[in-house]
């Protein structure tokens, strides 16, 4: 148990080992640890960001869906209104057409009646003249009484 130059040898060995450790062992391991730490941190941050974005997207989707529903309801409402309008219009048109046809038929009837009356009047006049001619035979001057007969016929 004596102190000798082993002391110096051990110190030098120690210094060399420390130098080697400091130069070749410590930095790569610590770098790897640091890199991994950073990667994990990045990964967690990315996951957080992803979750956030997903939330936003879900919210946006819900909004879009709601908007679409509102729009659809609006369109349906408009369509119903339009349908009612078209029905009303059609009804009005049909009524107008009906009225027109009715009026035309009435006018025709009127015209027919008028013509029949005219015909009848002419025939009655002729009949009256013929009758009077038969009754009066000679005395009756067709020319002198034609005026009178005409007047009578008009009264019919």
């Amino acid at each position: 148990m004596n102190i000798n130059a082993t002391l110096i040898g051990q110190s030098i060995t120690f210094a060399v080992f420390v130098w080697f450790c400091m130069r070749y062992i410590w930095p790569p391991i610590v770098n790897a640890l640091e890199t991994r730490r950073k990667q994990i941190a990045d990964g967690l941050a990315a996951a957080e960001r992803g979750r956030h974005e997903q939330e936003l997207a879900a919210k946006r989707a819900a909004e879009t869906l709601h908007e679409a529903k509102v729009k659809a309801a609006e369109i349906i409402g408009q369509a119903e209104k339009r349908a009612a309008q078209i029905i009303d219009e059609a009804k009005a048109a049909a009524k107008a057409e009906g009225d027109r046809l009715l009026a035309a038929a009435q006018a025709e009837i009127e015209q027919e009646a008028h013509r029949a009356r005219e015909q009848l009047r002419a025939q009655v006049a002729a009949l009256v003249v013929a009758g009077a001619e038969k009754v009066l035979r000679r005395e009756v001057d067709a020319k002198a009484h034609a005026e009178l007969l005409e007047a009578i016929a008009k009264e019919i």
Binding site: M1, N2, N4, T6, G9, Q10, T13, C21, M22, P28
Partner: protein, 281 residues
């Protein structure tokens, strides 16, 4: 057992003698074959066993950790990389907790080297104490002490290296004047300068001495108890069985000691270097 032909005292002495290499009294260089011969070699001799074991273990540590460092990826780590990372993070946390001197790229690798190296050196204490010396005598080496940390040369070698770093950073951070002022002006102010100097110098010298002696003392005592337990094996069957249990118990307890001593050496190194970085006011 190596002690069969000797007395107990010889057995113990044999186990406590390092393999010394130096100049023998007759002027030739070679191995010392007795403690007296080793003593006579003086300062300029080497403990080949201490240096050899610590270099082999140190290189083993560097090789294994270098392997992990080369293959280190930020992706999924393999089992070995995982273990190395666990150790590195443990050291890094310790350094961050104890060292406040700002960014110093030396401290953490220094702490890692100290911790693992001393742990491995201490771990040799758990190898049954007659195996390696027995093997080495078979190879023709007269002595072999397997645990370098039971050689004060090894522990003082490390603590002196740490002490030099403490001095280096004290001068670098505080300047010659600042460091001298720290030594001379505390704790009694400038009128108690001699007393201050005396106290502070003792304080300074105590750092490497206590660092080395704590580690040496713990491991030396542990080794000593292993040797004494080993002596029991030759004292009959009953003692032998008891010695077996004792050795097992002491070895298990020693796992705690060797780790703890490595950790203490590392932590105190960090603390001393931290103190060297701090300006006193």
């Amino acid at each position: 057992m190596a002690g069969e032909a000797h007395t107990s005292a010889d057995y113990i002495r044999h186990h406590l003698q390092n393999l010394a290499f130096g100049q023998r009294p007759d002027g030739t260089w070679g191995l010392a074959h007795s403690p007296e011969e080793a003593q006579a070699m003086g300062f300029w001799s080497l403990h080949l066993d201490t240096l050899g074991v610590s270099i082999v273990l140190g290189v083993l540590f560097l090789y294994l950790f270098r392997k992990a460092a080369v293959n280190a990826t930020a992706g999924v780590p393999g089992p070995w990389q995982n273990f190395v990372e666990w150790v590195v993070e443990f050291i890094d946390t310790s350094v961050r907790g104890s060292f406040s001197g700002g960014r110093n790229l030396l401290i953490a690798p220094l702490a890692l080297t100290i911790f693992i190296w001393i742990f491995l050196l201490n771990l040799m204490d758990l190898v049954p104490i007659d195996w390696i010396p027995g093997l080495m005598s078979a190879l023709g080496l007269p002595y072999f002490k397997l645990v370098p940390t039971t050689d004060p040369n090894a522990t003082f070698g490390m603590s002196i290296a740490v002490f030099l770093l403490v001095l280096y950073y004290s001068f670098k951070i505080k300047g010659v004047g600042g460091f001298a002022a720290e030594l001379a002006l505390h704790p009694f102010g400038k009128w108690g300068m001699p007393a201050n100097l005396f106290l502070e110098l003792i304080n300074l010298i105590a750092k490497p001495v206590s660092l080395a002696l704590r580690l040496f003392g713990n491991l030396y005592a542990g080794e000593m108890i292993f040797i004494l337990i080993a002596l029991l094996f030759s004292a009959g069957i009953g003692w032998g069985v008891m010695a077996g249990f004792l050795q097992l118990g002491w070895a298990i307890f020693h796992i705690l000691i060797i780790t703890l001593q490595a950790f203490i050496f590392m932590t105190l190194t960090i603390v001393y270097l931290d103190m060297a970085h701090q300006e006193h006011h």
